[in-house]
């Protein structure tokens, strides 16, 4: 196929952003033109992504839809291509962006046009991350995402937005610069930055450990893993709803994707060496952040900490290195993308009406917002991994995979499931059930059409993939098999050498 579909999906939002930029902005008028253009772009992109999924061949683990261009002559090629793992993330991105565009129409009051431009540019960078098969191009997109996100938090955020935006920016930048050195070193070791080539060449094992750590520093901050997760609650609390949605649903997944594609793919020997390290951090993340989440007063903070715990499952699954573990962690990322987006939207619904996110401020919401309470319950149950929701599939597979390799880690991680049930249900109880005592809450209106529409879509997908995860597993299965085979091959070779 000659049509450059990956570049189209990647750069279409950028073109859309340019047209949004051209629309006239009136100060007191709702900016219809900008809204229509950005909705149109993001939906076209979503359909393009669906078409991509449809024409994707899930029988082969090779990279498909490859596009290559000379970019810096004799040095770096602009190379795009996807396999079963990346296509899911592209789908997720293309699905989440229109949702956040719709959600921000109601909730963003100032500078809507600029907000839409930032989101569309961010979409380009995010999809670029998942498409790129060259380390430098990957780094370019990975880092570039900082700019729009920094502005989204800083301009449209809450009261402590400046602190959060700076923390977000500097934490992630510090993590990634080490990755840049690693990428440059890889170029001088192997003579290329093309990922597919590097898979074939295989980096000598003595270099792998340091390089792995450099990549780890970047992904661990972005994911985020336990000791460096502190930027995430701040960023989430202060970011506007649409920003939180994108942050939780997609930006965090870039790191999980990075672990799969780069850390595991390029440095198998180091990955094996660091398994205990990752397991320790993941288990600490799951238990510690669940406990922290339990004690939060702020709903967004609670969900943010629960994200850290859920991401702990992801790393656990990836570094279990068996089919269940890796498939589980990919599905966990996908479903967490949907669930956390939905939860943040739900908090956003309350926040738009009352300008409060404190759990104790609410109570008895069910009496006035029945529709809302019902939908919110679905997401709460999905977040704690109730069977029948997509959250269950991911967590279950991860735990199965972990049980095979490390009994203790699996037991401790299962504790996290119980803890997540406690904090999510307690949140729901305090916010939604009980008596409606506060007068200022009584005037709240139930979900309007657009809110209901987006939450319904998310809920339906979560339930659908909970009962029938086959479409997802079919897509990733061959690629994951290939990843594991390559990994085992490398490990056995290195053992044989010793």
């Amino acid at each position: 196929m000659n049509f450059p579909i990956l570049s189209s999906i990647t750069f279409l939002p950028l073109i859309g952003a340019f047209f949004v930029f051209l629309t006239r902005s009136e100060i007191n008028q709702t900016n219809k033109g900008a809204i229509y253009v950005s909705l149109f772009t993001s939906f076209v992109n979503f359909f393009l992504a669906l078409f991509l999924w449809y024409s994707f061949d899930n029988k082969t683990s090779d990279f498909q839809f490859i596009e290559e261009l000379t970019w810096i002559s004799g040095f770096i090629k602009f190379k795009f291509g996807i396999d079963g793992i990346s296509i899911l993330f592209i789908l997720l991105t293309a699905f989440i962006v229109p949702i956040s565009v719709i959600s921000c129409i109601n909730s963003v009051k100032t500078r809507l046009k600029e907000f839409l431009i930032a989101i569309l540019i961010l979409e380009t960078f995010m999809i670029g991350v998942f498409c790129s098969l060259d380390l430098v191009i990957f780094y370019l997109f990975f880092e570039a995402g900082l700019i729009p996100m920094f502005l989204i938090i800083g301009i449209w955020g809450g009261s402590r937005r400046v602190y959060s935006a700076f923390k977000f920016f500097l934490f992630t930048l510090l993590g990634s610069v080490l990755m840049l050195i690693a990428i440059i070193s890889i170029y001088w070791i192997t003579g290329t930055t093309d990922v597919v080539e590097i898979y074939k060449i295989k980096i000598p094992s003595e270099f792998q450990y340091l390089l792995w750590l450099a990549f780890f520093s970047s992904f661990a901050v972005k994911l985020p893993m336990w000791p460096v997760h502190t930027w995430l609650p701040d960023a989430h609390v202060e970011a506007p709803t649409a920003g939180s949605v994108i942050l939780a649903a997609i930006l965090l997944k870039m790191a999980g994707y990075g672990f799969l594609r780069f850390s595991v793919g390029m440095f198998p020997i180091a990955s094996e060496y660091f398994i205990p390290f990752i397991f320790t951090l993941s288990v600490i993340a799951i238990i510690y952040t669940s406990l922290v989440a339990l004690m939060q007063d702020d709903m967004k903070k609670l969900i943010a900490y629960s994200s850290v715990a859920h991401m702990g499952f992801v790393t656990l699954g990836i570094f279990a290195f068996n089919k269940q573990g890796i498939e589980g962690s990919i599905i966990q990322m996908f479903s967490h993308g949907l669930i956390s987006a939905a939860l943040f939207l739900c908090v956003g619904v309350l926040y738009d009406r009352t300008h409060s996110r404190l759990i104790n401020y609410f109570g008895g919401v069910v009496h006035i917002l029945p529709k809302y309470s019902f939908i919110f319950m679905i997401f709460v149950l999905a977040a704690l991994g109730l069977p029948g929701t997509s959250g269950f599939v991911g967590e279950f597979l991860v735990l199965v995979g972990t049980f095979k390799v490390n009994f203790l880690a699996a037991i401790l991680a299962s504790l996290g499931v119980i803890l997540s049930a406690i904090y999510m249900l307690w949140l729901y109880k305090r916010a939604v059930f009980g008596k409606l005592e506060k007068n200022e809450l009584k005037g709240m209106k139930d979900l309007n059409k657009s809110e209901f529409g987006i939450l319904f879509c998310l809920g339906a997908l979560i339930l659908f993939f909970g009962f029938y995860p086959d479409p997802l597993i079919d897509t990733i299965s061959v690629s994951v098999d290939n990843l594991i085979t390559n990994y085992n091959l490398d490990i056995s070779q290195s053992v044989a050498l010793k």
């Binding site: 000379t70 970019w71 810096i72 002559s73 040095f75 430098v136 780094y139 370019l140 997109f141 880092e143 570039a144 900082l146 700019i147 920094f150 502005l151 800083g154 301009i155 937005r161 400046v162 935006a165 700076f166 920016f169 500097l170 930048l173 510090l174 610069v177 080490l178 840049l180 050195i181 440059i184 070193s185 170029y187 001088w188």
Partner: protein, 470 residues
Amino acid sequence: MIAIQYLIPELILSTSIFSLLIIGVFIKNSFNIIYRLSTFVIFLLILIIISDNNDSVKIFNKSFILDEFASFSKILILVSSFFVLLMSKKYILDIKNNKFEYPIIILLSILGMFFMVSANDLILFYLGLELQSLSLYILASIDRDNLKSSEAGIKYFVLSALSSGLLLYGCSLLYGFTGSTNFEVIANNTGDLKIGTIFAMIFILVGLAFKVAAVPFHMWTPDVYEGSPTSVTSFFSTVPKIAGIAVFIRFMYSPFYEIIDQWQFILVFISIASMILGAVAAIGQNNIKRLIAYSSIGHIGYAIAGIASGTENGFKSTLTYILIYAAMNIGIFAFVFLMKRKGKYVEEISELSGVSKNHPLTSLSLMIILFSLAGIPPLAGFFAKFYIFMAVVESGMYTLAIVGLVTTVVSAFYYIRIIKIMYFDDPKKPFESFKEYGIYSSLALSCIFLVSFFLYPSIFNGIISNINIF
């Protein structure tokens, strides 16, 4: 003499300087016309140098070298001076500093830089350097009724004269120990290492480090930048830096290349110190010109890191760096020229509070420039740093690379602090609006350059990879 034909740009420059002086003396209120004519001369020279298809030649007893490296630096010097002149005219008229000598002195300093970057001989190099420096002293104190400007001029003169003295002493030592002033002969004679050669190298290094304002010889920079009129600061922070770095490269790669073991670690130290100081000291600054001064110290640190790698990729990455640095600098000063309230130019960073509300487009441009200065992809500033670190890692200097990247993060803090002030804080009164197309076009061109660089970086790579200095 046949060699004259190679000197056409320099000849045109010097004749036009003298004819402009004569015009200036005979016509009253000749600032405008002389300003236009000087800009035109610069433009003409750009065309002439670009159209020259130069194969490397050495003339005047091999003391003057014309190669791609020299032409590249000259074009860069001319283009940046062109933009500096283009955007600073309104400012000069506003502060009533419209002396007709101003553009002529700039031309004179450019002439000095031409000889600097083309020098293949210690004497010619020193003459060029002094012509440049003397013009710069006058420029720094051009606003002579202003206390700060005179102070800046004197400060710059005293310190710079000292460094010139050291440099001259180094040159004489070098002549004494190698028996020649010609770079090639020196290069051949430094092989059998004498202690005097090392002394000479260090003295020359100190002088050069002073001219480009690298730590620990940077002390003059913030005061001079702040004290001089902004039009002069914009020139100072761009053009002499290009020439200085070009000469730096020439010295390290031509006469001193044989003793690379001796200078490499000195440069690594200078580079690390400049990067750290540039990153840390700028954090507390409230005056935008002082901030730019410290940030330029940091940037020079990165540029020197490329030279320190001692490889071909190293100096090429430095050239790319200085090219992109010049573009960013022009952009940021174009914005500084717009900061005018109630008839007065303001320089405090806090004055930028909330400008994005009143001036969306110009603030967007400044934001792009600041992100680029911070080295965030996909803007050009990232590529500048990327090439530098490619070269640095190639020669195995991981410490330098790691320090460099960590200081990138630290310096990102003060760049995004400005963005924070512009975008997150409450708006003040708008700046005065004026139709000055020179400023706006410089700002726009700089932004377009920075944003579109990632589309096809090969263009500049192609030009720079042809440059050979050995």
